[in-house]
Symmetry: C2
Subunit: 156 residues, 2 copies
DNA sequence: TTGCGAATGACACTCATTCCCAAATATGTT
DNA sequence: AACATATTTGGGAATGAGTGTCATTCGCAA
């Protein structure tokens, strides 16, 4: 990998690098980075939006539903994947922030689709500070925040 | 009601006033403000945090589960109640923002409890503007946003 | 008070997700 | 290379939150 190449999702080097990171992380927790798990990661890395289980299985029909659910759970607990509850019938999954960077979501109330959005760092900083202040007042220990914009997407 | 009295949740005048508003709103949609619906509203108004269906039925055992779910749904569709997907086993419900004011949520990852939090209006304004800008770039029509702070509550 | 559409509640049902377990596969050891 | 051991797999059964059904009851308007 060239020293200065930007890691672009979908790029082969990026995927290879990511697989290494994830494999190492799983190994640390006595989990194996099996082909099924690798396939899950690739599907999520290639789509660049959160996916439901039906989405995932449709994208790679080799994946068995029960194994996919089980592995998604393993990967979530290992901090590799993030689980989103957007309110539709199905839970959405996406790569975790260490892999994808901090971002938020734009959710279409009508069709349920979710898009990633990025706030300016000034806004992000202010929000973070503000939340920390509020949390400390009630003895709450903040871990992360999520900001969802609900509305209608261009297609709906 | 005294002209300058602050509407405090739990206050009797506040409840009476709220019931009037809600009754009117339901009537406009050809729905009746029955005692079951009124009981739901009172339970939610008295607790000052979002509740799950088991919470609600525990707080008022006269409520039948199927009717409670059905009425919660009617009230959500009438804009009186808001449905929250926090990720636990059960959906949470709370009075809608026109009644409760704009606010956000502090969610304990361990016990699943949810508390309301309020951001400063400066932060709120900046976030709102920022989200509008982002939405317009993709032809998205924003309706509302929600900001969740995830972490561990003081008890956990 | 009567008539009629809306609401009720007990229970059946759906379906997303989890559980189960025998077979398959990976890893470490002689 | 074959073995021992632990993890993973996948098909189908089980779970359970939430929704649908329907005969009965209620609320409202004339």
């Amino acid at each position: 990998m060239t020293a200065e190449s930007l890691p672009v999702p979908g790029d082969e080097d990026y995927l290879a690098e990511m697989h290494l990171q994830i494999g190492a992380r799983l190994a640390r927790q006595e989990h194996r980075y099996t082909s099924g798990r690798r396939q899950l990661i690739e599907v999520l890395a290639l789509a660049n939006q959160p996916m439901t289980l039906p989405d995932i299985v449709a994208a790679d029909p080799d994946l068995a539903q029960s194994s996919a659910y089980r592995n998604l759970d393993v990967l979530v607990r290992s901090g590799v994947i993030r689980r989103l509850s957007a309110g539709g019938d199905h839970t959405h999954f996406e790569l975790a922030e260490p892999l994808l960077g901090h971002h938020h979501h734009q959710i279409c109330i009508r069709c349920g689709s979710i898009e990633d959005i990025h706030l300016g760092s000034d806004v992000e900083l202010l929000v973070d500070q503000s939340l920390s202040d509020i949390a400390s007042q009630s003895g709450f220990t903040p871990i992360h925040h999520s900001l969802d914009l609900h509305g209608h997407c261009a297609d709906c």
